[in-house]
Amino acid sequence: MKTDLETIGMLRDSAARYADDNYSFHQRWAVLEQPEGYSRQAWSDFAEFGFLALRLPEDDGGLDADAVAIGAVMEIAGSRLLMEPLLASAIVGTGLLLKQGSAAQKAALLPALADGSLVLVLADEDEAGPCVIDGNRITGAKLGVLHGDIAGKFLVSAIDAASGAAVVALVDADAAGVSRHNYKLVDGRGATTLRLDAAVAERLQPESGQTAAVALAEIRDEATVALCAETLGIVKSLVHTTNEYLKVRKQFGKFIGSNQVLQHRMVDCLLLQEEVRALTAAAQQALAGPAEGRVRIVSGARAYIATAARKVANEAIQMHGGVGVTDEVDVSHYFRRLMVIAALFGNRDAHFARFVDASLAA
């Protein structure tokens, strides 16, 4: 699957146009006030645009989007700070279902995913030990489940009680034995700690024979690459807005951008932006390639991008001065979004360690 450039351009344009019209920084205030932490209206609009069916096969009305196409949308999600569960449900949840679901399971869930009536998220990070599934009952706890507060169903990574093999289990949010500790993240989105106490679960059983372990490794890398694209959108916005500020803010009778020290620091931010762009593109390409090379590039990109984005965000605040730490400007919102991104699907150190291991393997 390789999405053609025309489709990617169309996706990017329609997402950007939608955000221009409906999701400006000021319009977004209303979304931040939603108790659910996202806009239901925007979510159903995304369904209508086909963003929720990005990953679906063309036969099911989808785009069968590749990483570049997904990245085009994620870049907008980052630059416009979209609050909806695009990554969690439309890309990761749906993506994993497509890999691991049986034909019947897919038929049952994909229409609801595409029309936005179902939010399906992956609960992956274990609190202590792994979740264990025994027959059709699952027990364990998962941390930091992005949008888990609004999910209708969960895909839970687990191991089989008997064989110890990896399993992906489908769990209904309302099932007995499921409890959620919901909370808000620093960027205003919601998350949950998911606790499962002998909850009824349905195993995903793909006809393809792909193991759950392989599918989970793939989806984690896909999520990681999508986060790279989201970060690219944020970094580009921060560089742009800060650069503009240097041209309009005057102190000591001149534009602050005329100070050489700020010019040089702005150049360093631009360099970082270009590296983030190049690394994101390389990581997207690597997803399509063989597993051996994939890990090194994907995790290397993520580790470098995490550091680069933090540096750019810190500089953006510093160069904005006092207004940079207020809630009233987008800079501080990008800063908070980056904090959340940094905690999803492995932090910087985890990816760096993985990169080093892959690089130094004999």
């Binding site: 909370y183 000591f252 006092g322």
Partner: protein, 397 residues
């Protein structure tokens, strides 16, 4: 610097630790430990507690109720309080305007204002920055025009910390439209209850409103509230800024957050191994330890120069630069070490003394401080301005 002075500073540190353990009310100590948001009542209570200990104005001359503390004692006091995680000593009265009043004010002004500053009977705020005058303070435009026995003040101040609580605002204003930037400035004390004063909160990234915009519209200020001479405000402001840049607390804060980082890194296990034993984290914490050692020694060197009278004017800038940079980086790592708890946030809980959504009980407070202290390299003279100062006064550039 004499051995005697060193010994006095060490004794003072011990007194501060004893005070924290035995005198400070448990409730306030708990709030401080958790880095909770404090109310005005909390702060007033805190400042009065310090006053009772004889510490609120210990840096003032003895004749005015102080102890005539040396720079070393001042440093030791602020450093030790910050290491313990105590609330900050709100500086606007005791550190900023108080010394300006006793150095440049009339006897009547001293009698009127100094007692209330010492006991925090009256709460002060600082009206310095304006939308167009941040780093370039001399670019301020708030006008105070003389009209008989009073001034009529018009303008807008910004970043005014605790203006919502303040009884008084000490304010830099322009009393002469035509003068050069720095010569037309005067130093005025404005009663916040005056008609025409409007306080508008600014919400910062941490979800709170510690700072404000203060709008001044045809505010009548009695001429007797002018400090010193008209047009000399810049001289007084520079005198005050010297007090703003004592930088004692930043070393203590850096120590405090590094201590918290080590604590959480010991207590947090990832894949069965304590974070502090994971090579990348261990290495990073080790680097911070080393940098803290350098900061602490450089700070002592700077304070020694102040005590000995050999300072060159760059000392406080250097400490602020290194201290705030280290503080911010340690904070980033601390937030990272908290994992998912480090991105979960509940502002309500921070007000109501409730628990954070996830993680240890100080998590919410750490996040709040992480957000707010991105401004540590901006307020009180940004890092860029500090470097300009050092370039000018030491390097002659």
């Amino acid at each position: 610097m004499s051995e005697q002075l060193r010994a006095r500073a060490e004794t003072l540190r011990q007194e501060v630790r004893d005070f924290y353990a035995t005198v400070m009310p448990a409730e306030l100590r708990d709030k401080a430990h958790r880095h909770q948001v404090l109310s005005k009542e909390d702060y007033v209570g805190w400042m009065r507690l310090l006053d009772k200990q004889g510490w609120s104005v210990a840096h003032w001359p003895e004749a005015l109720g102080g102890k005539g503390w040396s720079p070393l004692e001042r440093f030791a006091f602020e450093d030790e309080l910050a290491r313990l995680g105590c609330p900050w000593v709100i500086p606007f009265g005791v550190k900023y305007v108080g010394p300006v009043i006793y150095a440049f004010g009339t006897d009547a002004q001293k009698q009127r204002f100094l007692p209330g500053i010492k006991t925090t009977e009256e709460f002060w705020a600082q009206g310095y920055s304006e939308p167009g005058a941040g780093s370039d303070l001399a670019g301020l435009r708030t006008m105070a025009l003389k009209d008989g026995d009073h001034y009529v003040v018009n303008g807008q101040k910004v970043w005014t910390t605790y203006a919502q609580w303040a009884d008084w605002l000490f304010c830099l204003v322009r009393t002469d439209r035509d003068d050069k930037p720095q010569t037309g400035i005067s130093f005025l004390l404005i009663d916040m209850k005056s008609p025409g004063v409007t306080v508008k909160p600014i919400r910062t990234m941490d979800g709170f409103a510690h700072v404000n915009e203060v709008w001044l519209e045809d505010v009548k200020v009695p001429a007797e509230n002018l400090i010193g001479e008209e047009g000399k405000g810049w001289t007084y402001a520079k005198f005050l800024l010297k007090n703003e840049r004592t930088a004692g607390a930043i070393v203590g804060w850096a120590w405090h957050v590094l201590d918290r980082l080590k604590k959480h890194a010991r207590e947090t296990r990832v894949n069965g191994v304590a974070l502090i034993d994971q090579p990348l984290m261990r290495n990073r914490i080790g680097e911070y330890e080393l940098r803290f050692m350098a900061l602490e020694l450089a700070a002592y060197q700077a304070v020694t120069a102040m005590v000995d009278g050999t300072e060159n004017g760059s000392e406080a800038s250097l400490i602020k630069l290194r201290g705030t940079e280290l503080y911010q980086e340690v904070m980033e790592t601390l937030v990272e070490a908290l994992g998912h708890a480090g991105v979960a946030f509940d502002t309500e809980a921070l007000h109501s003394a409730g628990l954070p959504p996830l993680g240890p009980d100080d998590t919410g407070g750490i996040l709040k401080d992480h957000f707010y202290n991105r401004a540590a390299t901006i307020f009180g003279g940004s890092s860029e301005i500090q470097r300009n100062i050092v370039a000018k006064v030491v390097l002659g550039l």
